[in-house]
């Protein structure tokens, strides 16, 4: 899932070689703004066909939050 996430972040922001870990923070470490985070989550919604309400997006601060959130929605790690 990390690789897919890295690819999505690249597509949305043009940033690559991010070496994502579970603890990577989207805002603090990757210096993304709230608009970038929204676009990334939107891409995850499409990729995994899940609905992520806007308000939940603010809870997804680190990579592990996003991964756990998706798992709770029934998305299996591939």
């Amino acid at each position: 899932m990390l690789e897919r996430l890295e690819e999505i972040i690249y597509q949305v922001t043009g940033k690559n070689n991010l070496n994502l870990t579970d603890d990577t923070d989207f805002v603090k470490d990757l210096e993304l703004n709230s608009f970038d985070v929204m676009n990334i989550i939107s891409a995850l919604e499409d990729l995994y066909d899940v609905d992520i309400p806007t308000r939940d997006v603010w809870q997804l601060r680190q990579v592990k939050d996003a991964v756990e959130y998706l798992k709770a929605k029934g998305v299996e790690e591939q």
Binding site: V27, E31, N33, M38, P53, T54, R55, W58
Partner: protein
Amino acid sequence: MKQYPAKETVYYDNFRDFLNDAALRYGESPAVTCYNRKGEAHTRNYRQLKEDAFAFGEALCGAGLSGKHAALISENSQEWLTAWFGVAASGGVTVCIDIEHRDETIIAMAAQADAEILIVSPSMLFLGRRIVAENSNIKKLLVTGSDPDGQFEAMAQFTQRLLEEGSGREAMKLCRPKKEQTATIVYTSGTTSTAKPVMLSQHGILRNAGDSLTLLDSGKKVFNTLPLYHTYGFTCGVLCALIRGIEVGLSCDLKRMIQEMTYFKPNTVVAVPLIIEAIHKLAWSYIKNSCSGDAADRLMKLENFLGRPNRLMKEKVKKAFADTCLKDLEYILSGGAHLSEKVAQDLEHFGIVVLQGYGITECSPSISVNRNEDYRLDSVGLVLPSYEVRIVDDEIQVRGVPLMNGYYKQPELTAQSYDGEWFKTGDLGYLDKQGHVHITGRKKNLIVMKNGKKVAVEEMEEEMKKLPLVKEAMVYGAKSGISEDDVKIAVMVYPDQEAAKDMTSYEILEQLQEYVDRLNAQLPTYKQIQMVNIRDTEFERTSSNKIKRQLV
């Protein structure tokens, strides 16, 4: 100085008159369009807009709920507008709540504003259930969409049921809204301790929207990117357009805004600097895909030399923007925070004019806006016809009809915010000879983020001082980009010397960071502290014992 005639507008006393008249004038023309995730458009015309609102208003009257306070806890949607207009047309008060707040804050806001009806979206239903359980004042909870458990009634079903019972129509005739009565309570930014419940009147909001139209021309299609629970989104992004019979594209999912815009192809976009910068970035990427960035740069420089933006680039831009969301875009209305002039200048070269405006919730919200014919990128525009502006000790003060009815149940706070009839905005600025308003700073200690959100620093500092290790704390916006509002929230701490006596700087920082992480977990993202610093001397203070912030 060239004189421009005021553009055509219409003023209404209340929302019932507005809905009736708009339906008569524009009838079958499209009023509001939203898109679902598949990109399918859902459009209501002006007749339906009125019918939806009146049906809901009648249902409220029929259920004995007319004139009550209804808290709207929802993302943007058609039903949000139906609920708002329906409550206003039947003489009630909508309490507009920012869903980015923490659960506890929303619960407190609904209670403080005496809400008796809750209207929640499916994603906020969990919180609606909690409020019903904890707040005995709530008489009815309605869900936009539907409740999967079937416990609470859907708004559409409630409306249908009450219309069939038929008792609401006569009751609605009796509860005609008066023009001065409060139509909505909107919270300003902050938590319950600092967020102020602003009461705005029926004719105040309508007058403010009507006034903006005397200066603005926004083409045939307007796209609102902002949440409706902020007055900027509701009044400027939706109501202005509806008064003129223009079609509004309503962004219902921030995550898909660009797709929604691509389907809608607006002539005008209403936005905050954060979104305008994203549009600017997108525009550049389209141009670079279509021709080389260097060529575009050269042409822009030449246009600057000639003083004719979009003269030489016109054809290139047209080709680059074909079939994109920017294809028909002519204007962007910017408000909520300061926009970098460079971004506005670039967009001008691309044929997109940024019209900056200025306002605050208490003013319904617009105070000034730039006119299409003589706009200036370094000013927030001309004062609206119903307002007078005076400058006292550099502070902008405002007088006029659209001002708020006061802060709900807080007469002292209301009195403090006025000097006689003049409302003290807390913003510093001046008027130039042509009557253009310029903002130079803020009297209040607020950090204004690019998305228009405001963070009250004292409130955050109080939170920091709860940690025994912290003797003094100063929260500030640390610059993190080019524009003035491109800031991240930082805190500078002077540790308590006693509590920190056996600790190394590293240990102090580590403990502070741990506390900040816990604090951040309770805060919406935009308010989170991104940087912690310590200092080894106390802060310098003014004679009134306030930290000299500018020295840090």
